[in-house]
């Protein structure tokens, strides 16, 4: 995933005249380096990767099998008894008037629900990291602690507020709720990234006469692009895959996201594996595309946050 260059570390010293003792040490060092990437280790890694993927693969294959086959034999029998069909996808897509409009709803929900919390969290993380003020530590710990408030706790009180403001039956409650629920973790992670920026850079900017707003936009934002992308992917996956918030705040058929539509599919059809499997894969296509196309940023961003000292 990363493009970290493999630096041949032991070669450097080979040219120097070495005593037999040093040579022995070097050999040992080389052995140590290769030990964890031995064929056995690689083999184990491959086995684990396969084990991790088999459940998904099984359902994926199932989603293309005819109903009768699914109910009478395991998906692994596809080797001896091949049979493929697109009927399951056709049915899942066209049940309840098609999933297309639900896809649109999901996209309409996702864009503001990713952009707004990230920006707000960046501002807050900056304040916690670089603006000294009284009670800063206490407030930061409070925000951190709010991470544990289960979403379910907030649903009913929030709903009352939305009804009072006449915001029911629109996307606003969904956007606002996702923003609120995403904030504590976003602030926590982005604050970690912000703290990594050397203080000297900030001080230099301050000496040049830059205020907090300028430092935030001109100095910090460019440095934080990978971190923002990393958290953005998180928030995206979370909002895209959300079922609870959408079910509570956007119950009308006109506003429902694709996850709710698929949950209905599984709710009303019991265990009709042909529809469930196809539906599951329809819902995960977009997150997979987004993840695989952005994973470079993801890794770089997390790298910045996890290195301390």
């Amino acid at each position: 995933m990363t493009t970290a260059p493999v630096i041949p570390q032991t070669d450097v010293r080979v040219e120097e005249p070495v005593s037999s003792r040093q040579l022995k040490r070097q050999l040992r060092a080389q052995e140590a380096k290769t030990k964890l990437t031995s064929p056995w280790a690689s083999g184990l890694a491959i086995v684990l990767a396969i084990l991790w993927t088999i459940p998904t693969l099984g359902l994926f294959i199932t989603s293309f099998r005819p109903v009768e086959d699914i109910n009478t034999s395991g998906w692994w029998s596809i080797i001896t008894n091949p049979g493929f069909t697109l009927t399951n996808y056709d049915q899942a897509l066209n049940a309840q008037g098609g999933l297309g409009s639900f896809f649109l709803n999901t996209i309409v929900i996702v864009v503001p629900a990713v952009l707004i919390p990230i920006f707000l969290a960046l501002l807050a993380a900056y304040a916690f990291a670089w603006i000294p003020f009284k009670g800063r530590n206490f407030l930061f710990v409070a925000v951190f602690a709010l991470q544990v408030v289960p979403l379910q706790v907030a649903l009913i009180p929030l709903q009352t507020i939305f009804v009072n403001f006449g915001l029911q039956n629109s996307f606003w409650p969904v956007w606002i709720s996702h923003t609120i629920f995403g904030l504590p973790l976003a602030i926590f992670l982005l604050h970690n990234f912000m703290k990594e920026v050397p203080a000297s850079i900030i001080e230099a900017a301050r000496v040049d006469g830059a205020g907090h707003v300028k430092i935030f936009f001109v100095v910090l934002m460019p440095l934080l692009v990978p971190a923002i992308a990393a958290f953005g992917i998180f928030q995206f996956l979370w909002v895209w895959n959300d079922l609870l918030v959408a079910t509570v705040f956007a119950p009308s058929p006109n506003l429902r996201p694709v996850t709710a539509a698929i949950a209905d599919l599984s709710g009303t059809r019991g265990s009709s594996w042909e529809l469930l499997s196809a539906g599951a894969f329809i819902s995960i296509i977009v997150p997979l595309i987004v993840f695989f196309s952005l994973q470079r940023f993801f890794v770089r961003g997390l790298l910045a946050g996890s290195v301390k000292g």
Binding site: G58, P150, A154, G211, F291
Partner: protein
Amino acid sequence: MDFLLNPTSVGDKLISMVLAVVIFGVIMAVLLFAIDRPKVPNWVIVAAFLGPVAILLAVGLFYPAAGTVVRSFQVSVNAVGPDGGPVINPNTGQRLTELGFSFDNYTRVFTDPAFQKTLLNTVWWVVLVPVVSTLFGLIYAVLVDRTRFEKAAKALVFLPMAISMVGASIIWKFVYEYRQGGSPQIGLANQVLVWLGADPYQFIITQPWNTFFLIVVMIWINAGFAMTILSAAIKAVPDDIVEAAQIDGATGFKLFRRVTVPTIRPAVVVVLTTIAMGSLKAFDVVRTMTGGNYGTSIVANEFYTQSFRQGEGGKGIGAALAVVLFVIIIPVIVYNVRQMRLAEEVR
């Protein structure tokens, strides 16, 4: 402006989406522009940077949480009139009830066997999911580090993260699918049992192990997250530290345990915390796979059930469960805050 509050057509929806972002952007731009001048007092700047977040969190999380704490002490008791006797509704002839302060909800949560089971399950979730996911993620990250197939191997393990919890639950429900012995199995887990000569097993229904089979699903989802972060941290371990240790004779496992793990400890703590909080709050897996039946309920799921499905009577119980949930996680918060302090001192 009706379409903003009640969008119907595709165009309405897209326009309201764009407008939501634009309105937000304009408000923030005006706010930040207003304070971006010399001689603005510090507290105004702090208010501008933190204000919106503080308001949202206070209204959306703190206020509901406080309300939940209050509700956890409320029970329905028979109203007592001024004369000390019961108050009767003259229309229906029934006794009126009012909200009273009591520890009854907590007593019930800790004495009722069903709730005890729920609490115990939650502890298993909060301990096993983070620990096993992190261990697996760490080992896997080391195994594939600097191998030729690293990129693909990591993508495969991360895959479940991108699948929703509902999707993951469907996938595993299929793996655990049970058919009576003798008939062909369509779930892989039972087919493996049959191949090994054992009887098929009702993984999801049979207590007490079913809870652990649900935990497997959550570990399957979270291991990729742990692996990604820890792998990034391992790659960031400075080469000179590793070299120095190697010259001192540290080999494979020793190098890993004495050098790599201590160096990436902050990352390990972040991973453990994030996963612990996630599994504490997650209820999708339980709800999709068992609905909390067969003794698999966890606090997050029970809270939802008690608050939304059981009517008024369940609300106090649900609230008490949520408070217990919070108390369970306090040690994690304390530990993290102390770690942050330490990191601050090192700086």
